[in-house]
């Protein structure tokens, strides 16, 4: 039995722990999006300049252009690296940064997005966010066997997290089967994505669609007239309006506070130990936030982290001012207009802070 365990461990090390499998993982998968994020960072890293990573979820991908930021900052030594991993969360960012920058020396600043100025705005139980397991698959190692599962509070997720670290091949099973079925096609696809992803992201102009201004009414809050809203985004938009206006009960604020303190705090602590600042900015939260009168003043965990000097929270009001329908193409993401505005605002603000 011990011999079998040793042989299996050798196989597992060879295939997963050396990173061999991840070279050929499906790019259009959750783990693949994390790996592409890593590729993006590697491609955009310029060792002759001061690299600043702007890290977040798909909203960073849609709302921030590294190319435009670097045009703005060309007179300085700053090099902006926008890295938006769709669906990712602060826990994933912490492990992602550990992977791409294990010594915490690659960046001269880390810029993180947040979509809430107060903990009461958080509308999901991120402590037990199950998808984080899939995101973290390429980022974990044996050393995380105790600590990573402990970041979940539900026993079943802790158990799943332990198994993820011990048996990553089981979690990559579907993709491995597809890879074995068409190995050459997969190798080609993975290589293509790796070589084209950074260029594609640089040249991406953003979405041209603009959301209309809407009159909102009722409970839950809904548009009086859906005209001008694409059919496919109506359910998400309705859900966004209900959530943002506080129609649904929110999960425990204490959990949200703990969660944000833990992950933003951890990233900040690790970089501050090397004298590298960590900035947090308010990602424009949605097209109708201004209309809904959502809070713009910093409170809760973020205010605490900022007052402790752990993170530097960029003044939220200018970012909140972008929360108008003309800057969005759906309920979450900035369009090309919003992209230009946010890139401009964020780049100038960081330049002011850094220089």
């Amino acid at each position: 039995m011990l011999c079998i365990a040793a042989l299996y461990a050798a196989f597992d090390t060879l295939v997963v722990r050396t990173g061999f499998y991840f070279r050929y993982a499906e790019p259009e998968s959750i783990a693949g999006s994390v790996l592409l994020g890593r590729t993006l960072v590697d491609c955009r890293m310029d060792h002759s300049r001061e690299n600043i990573i702007v890290l977040g979820d798909s909203r960073v991908g849609e709302g921030f252009s590294s190319k435009k930021a670097n045009e703005i900052a060309k007179v300085t030594k700053l090099n902006f690296i926008g890295c938006g991993i769709p669906g990712s969360t602060p826990r994933v960012w912490a492990y992602f940064l550990r992977k791409v920058d294990p010594e915490r020396t690659k960046f001269s600043a880390v810029v993180l997005m947040t979509d809430a100025v107060t903990d009461t705005e958080i509308n999901e139980d991120f402590v037990n966010y199950k998808l984080d397991l899939n995101y973290c698959l390429p980022l974990l190692n044996w050393g995380d066997l105790q600590t990573f599962p402990a970041t979940f509070s539900k026993p079943e997720l802790r158990d799943r997290a332990r198994r993820l670290i011990a048996f990553p091949l089981v979690f990559a099973q579907t993709d491995l089967r597809a890879l074995l079925l068409h190995p050459l096609d997969r190798a080609r696809k993975a290589a293509q994505w790796r070589s084209n992803y950074a260029t594609g992201a640089d040249d991406y102009p953003g979405q041209p669609t603009i959301l209309p201004d809407l009159e909102l009414e009722g409970s839950p809050l809904l548009p009086r007239d859906w005209a001008g809203i694409r059919e496919e985004i109506r359910p998400q938009l309705a859900s966004y309006l209900a959530l943002s206006s506080g129609y649904y009960p929110r999960p425990s604020v204490d959990l949200a506070t703990q969660y944000r303190r833990l992950w933003f705090g951890q990233i900040a602590r690790e970089y501050r130990a090397k004298g590298i600042p960590v900035f947090v900015f308010l990602m424009p939260r949605g097209p109708y936030h201004a209309k809904l009168g959502c809070p713009t003043a910093l409170a809760g965990s973020m205010a605490a982290l900022a007052s402790e000097g752990a993170v530097r929270f960029l003044p939220p009001q200018p970012f909140a001012a972008l929360e108008v329908p003309g800057n969005f193409f759906d309920q979450l993401h900035l369009n090309s207009v919003g992209r230009t505005k946010l890139t401009d605002l964020l780049t100038h603000t960081i330049m002011e802070q850094k220089l």
């Binding site: 039995m1 011999c3 079998i4 042989l7 299996y8 196989f11 158990d159 198994r163 011990a166 048996f167 091949l169 089981v170 099973q173 491995l176 089967r177 074995l180």
Partner: protein, 470 residues
Amino acid sequence: MLFDSFNYWLFFGVAVVVLAALADRASRVGLVLFSFVFYSFWNPWFTLLLGGSIVANFLLGLWIEQATDGRRRQALTVAIAFNLSLLCFFKYYGFLVVSLGHLLQFDPHSILFHIVLPVGISFFTFEGIAYTVDVYRRDTKAVRNLTDFAVFMSFFPHLVAGPIIRPAHFFPQLATREPLADSAAKWGVIQIFKGLLKKIVFADYFGPVANAYFSHTAHNGQTVPAAIGVLAFSLQIYFDFAGYTDIARGCARLLGYEFPPNFERPYLSANITDFWRRWHISLSSWLRDYLYIPLGGNRHGRSLTYLNIVIVMTLGGLWHGASWNFALWGLYHGLLLLLHRVWTGVIKSRFGPNLPSNWLTQSAAVILTFVVVTVGWIPFRAPEFSSTLQTLKELGAGGIRAFLSAAPTFTVLALLPLAYCLADSRRNLEKWLSNRAPLFTVAIGGTVALILLTLFGQYGLQVPFIYFQF
């Protein structure tokens, strides 16, 4: 704690290491403690039931042995009544009350209360009966040591879903326990991996297909035709139960004990009698020795023999669960066995002593047996009687080709074991791996099995072992 769960293997690993480090007597006490811990994972309160059953059967065995001739039968009656009442109360109370309510036209809910079925009760009560009857028949001496008796009843690999252990087979192993030989260890490891492959790759693939049909939902977007649904269940129940048994036997072997085989490639049986010699052997032999023979067996003429077969099989069906569907399944098999007896005893001897016997007739017989057995699984799986009838009506419906072309894995997984059995009909590979292959070769084989489990196992579905509910 299921055999296909990570937690079980952690538990088992700890048990192997701890028990190996203990001296013989201490290791038996340790084994009982581990078994109770294992059982408590389902419901800690039921350990009291298990403990009570162990102590009661232990004392009853002593009483039967020490009783004078006139009292022995009385003592045995108490022992059987005790075990059956335990089983009836927990397993059949609700069923009996509801059935009586229907029959006598009264509302059963007034005297019905919610009873949780203790896992494995059908198995350990049958073991208790087997022990007390064997002591009565003087086939076995009453055990004088409560720890030894507790090992027999509670030994965790067979505790919740068998195989049903017989005293005459198990107690001699306690008396002469030898260090684990290399070949025994290799055999144990092979059984465990064989069982895991059967359960996680095969049973857990076929299970959701059968579930989709019987719950009228789609499987991966595909409508499941009745024939495919029934075939899927037939394959699921075999791979599930045979897989469980393989793991149980392998684990027991690594802990130094041997369990009898419970399955001998039953779907390759050429007739229904042969099928019952190869399917759930520990139950069918128990039914033969403790029910069929005491009923008179075949000693009182043809008609009574036939009647005994039908009674035994119907009760055997009911043993699986408190539902008329199980009784129907048992009755069906009883009638098939009866039919086969008539065929072999009367028709074949009178009209066809020279029936050709070649690979073609043998194959036809195997296919026919498989088909009748598979059809028999319908009442076993269907949630109710009307659903059984509906499934029988739908068996001829089309859509099979469309399903199979959309789900080629089904065909591959159904035919792969058959091809393996045909290619290695004498189980030479298994014998070679256990007896002659170097340890490293077995380790390579185990690693390959583990990699196959990793790549092709069905995880996250949480398909429980079917026989745990019995």
